[in-house]
């Protein structure tokens, strides 16, 4: 038990004194998750809105596919991305393997169905009276779409927060695609896995504290958003 307590205090020391290897992993995590979120938001948000707002042939099939993608294991995504960006893969020429961009690709695939499915669900909850009200106030089709999107803004933000929490805490893709290279592609989760394997609990706990803090902040904000 003592080693855990000692590890905790050592972790605080590492964080407060700005230990470079610890903060390098934090920095890599923030970079890669932000990059993957940017891509997922740009693609997933319009797709989710389209899916929730319009009725079209095959909509149910698309929803089923999307729901299946929500359950994709990260190691499977990692494996697929590894295959695609390795030197023998179709994107091998871009040298993305063991780079933050490569990890971001995999994490985008992880975040995309979350953002799309949760956005679609939020849009589907729009009260039918909203469209009627907007038409009766003189809104055109574009006004109606934009206002509907604004009306479900809390649901959309909740989708983004959920996806961000997921990509921040995943380990499979980062490990397989990034290779856990110190100062380069080592993220918080891969560093924790490594440090724990080496018996360096203090480093692991320090990184874990950062991760827990971020996850806590994310979930607290989600809690307040859901309350609205």
């Amino acid at each position: 038990m003592d080693f855990i307590i000692q590890g905790f205090f050592h972790a605080l020391h590492l964080l407060t004194t700005g230990d470079s290897s610890t903060w390098s992993a934090v920095s890599a995590t923030l970079k890669v998750s932000t990059l993957s979120m940017l891509f997922s938001v740009v693609v997933g948000l319009p797709c989710g809105f389209f899916l929730g707002y319009f009725d079209f042939r095959g909509k149910r099939g698309v929803r089923t596919l999307l729901d299946t993608m929500l359950a994709l294991p990260t190691v499977f995504i990692g494996l697929m991305i590894y295959a695609v960006i390795s030197s023998r893969g179709p994107l091998g020429d871009f040298n993305l393997l063991f780079t933050l961009a490569g990890i971001a690709m995999g994490q985008s695939i992880l975040a995309f169905p979350i953002i799309t499915a949760l956005t679609a669900s939020a849009v589907e909850t729009i009260d039918a009276q909203l469209k009627l009200t907007l038409i009766s106030l003189g809104a055109g089709k574009k006004d109606i779409m934009l206002t509907c999107m604004w009306e479900v803004r809390y649901g959309i933000v909740a989708a983004l927060v959920t996806a961000y929490g997921r990509v921040m805490t995943e380990v499979g893709i980062s490990m397989m695609v990034g290779g856990n290279i110190k100062w380069h592609t080592r993220t918080i989760t891969t560093a924790i896995a490594l440090e724990t394997g080496k018996g360096m609990f203090a480093n692991g706990i320090a990184l874990g504290l950062v991760l827990v803090s971020i996850a806590f902040a994310v979930n607290i904000s989600l809690f307040f958003l859901r309350k609205r």
């Binding site: 009260d127 009276q129 909203l130 106030l137 003189g138």
Partner: protein
């Protein structure tokens, strides 16, 4: 010279999933008028209002607005017509933002602190009895049902619409809110000449406020008091049929001729219903009667309406009723009587002199006689 109609409906049919919800061969609505729509739930009132609001196009027919055929989202109708529903949706914003949203769509609101817009918001909030100081910055979820409805009304008033469509606006609000909403609607007509069309179950309000009053049944529209519906399904009894849905006493059946199909409704024109004040003998001594009496015999009774002369050789049926309400018809000076027969209400138009002569008041017992041959079917 008669002013051109703001709305003209020609052979309008609206249907949902193949089921006809509205079938109006012709209807004109004059600009600046107040038109009332009455009718049971599902009769087509809301469908008609949505059509008039150009929310969705009819499946058949032409809908003219201001003399031109218009379609949903056309610039001519978007900014002129507004609809207030029974349960309005308020945007997840403050009261002030909700009220100014229509102006924003029109490009007439520039920020929350625009003094001109604030003044307009205050005016319309006062009009619906909401204090600007107290309510302007409240969120939608901080309002009661009545307050939300008044905010929704204010959001329509600020647009100074040419047409204000009200779909049971007072059905789910308290008396105070209902009064304020009614007053605000009349204010719009008085101040801006707004054409108002109201669907409501509040007959007294409609009778008092409307220039024209229509009844809707089964998607068909009639001048109020001109026709009555006897709802089906009908049960066969010998050579005749009766409506069990309108029957509570075995001897008080509303008889009809053979319906053309299972879902048919019997239609009885007011002019074909003969009303006499019931005399005092006890109920059990005055059973329902079917007769082949000639019009001359019936004419001996104290009529409220003249029996049409061509009713000879018709089979008549008589039922008892009780006068529930007497209301004045502003447009043509008739008295509109609501008469309860079993569980259903008849609405009948009568001459005021005849009503006075017969000393009919709410609570008076009357006999209603109609010829089975006069029944029409829809």
């Amino acid at each position: 010279m008669t002013p051109p109609s703001i709305y003209t409906l020609e052979n309008i049919v609206q249907a949902y999933k193949g089921k006809i919800a509205l079938d109006i061969p012709h209807l004109n609505i004059a600009p600046g008028s107040i038109t009332g729509l009455m009718g049971p739930n599902g009769s087509g009132k809301s469908t008609l209002l949505k059509l008039l609001a150009f929310v969705s196009p009819p499946v058949k027919g032409s809908l003219f607005f201001n003399g031109k055929v218009e379609a949903p989202f056309s610039p001519q109708v978007r900014f002129d017509i507004t609809l207030l529903t029974q349960t309005p949706y308020l945007l997840k914003r403050t009261v002030q933002e909700n009220i100014t949203h229509g102006l924003k769509i029109r490009g007439k609101a520039h920020g929350r602190k625009d003094p001109k817009v604030c003044k307009q918001v205050k005016e319309v909030m006062d009009r619906v009895g909401l204090s600007f100081q107290e309510f302007a910055h409240r969120m939608d979820y901080e309002l009661s049902g009545g307050e939300a409805q008044r905010v929704a009304m204010a959001a329509r008033l600020i647009l100074k619409p040419r047409v204000l469509l009200l779909d049971e606006p007072t059905a789910s609000v308290d008396i105070n809110s209902a009064t304020l909403i009614r007053r605000a609607a009349l204010y719009a007509r008085k101040t801006w000449g707004t054409t108002i069309i109201i669907a409501s179950h509040d007959h007294e309000w409609l009778q008092g406020a409307c220039d024209n009053l229509f009844q809707l049944y089964h998607g068909k529209i009639f001048q109020a008091g001109s026709k009555n519906i006897i709802p089906g399904p009908f049960i066969k009894d010998g050579q005749e049929f009766f409506s069990p849905s309108s029957t509570t006493e075995a001897e008080q059946t509303l008889r009809v001729t053979a319906p053309p199909h299972d879902k048919a409704y019997a239609l009885l024109k007011t002019d074909h219903i003969h009303i006499t004040a019931e005399e005092s003998p006890p109920k059990e001594e005055r059973p329902e009667k079917d007769s082949n009496e000639s019009p001359e015999n019936l004419a001996a009774n104290p009529h409220i309406q003249e029996m049409p002369g061509k009713l000879e050789q018709k089979q008549y049926h008589t039922v008892r009723g009780e006068v529930l309400r007497l209301m004045g018809d502003k447009k043509n000076g008739y008295i509109i009587m609501a008469i309860k027969v079993n569980e259903m209400n008849f609405t009948i138009r009568a001459n005021p002199e005849a009503v006075i002569q017969s000393k009919l008041l709410p609570g008076s017992r009357v006999m209603l006689t109609y010829a089975l041959n006069d029944i029409e079917w829809i």
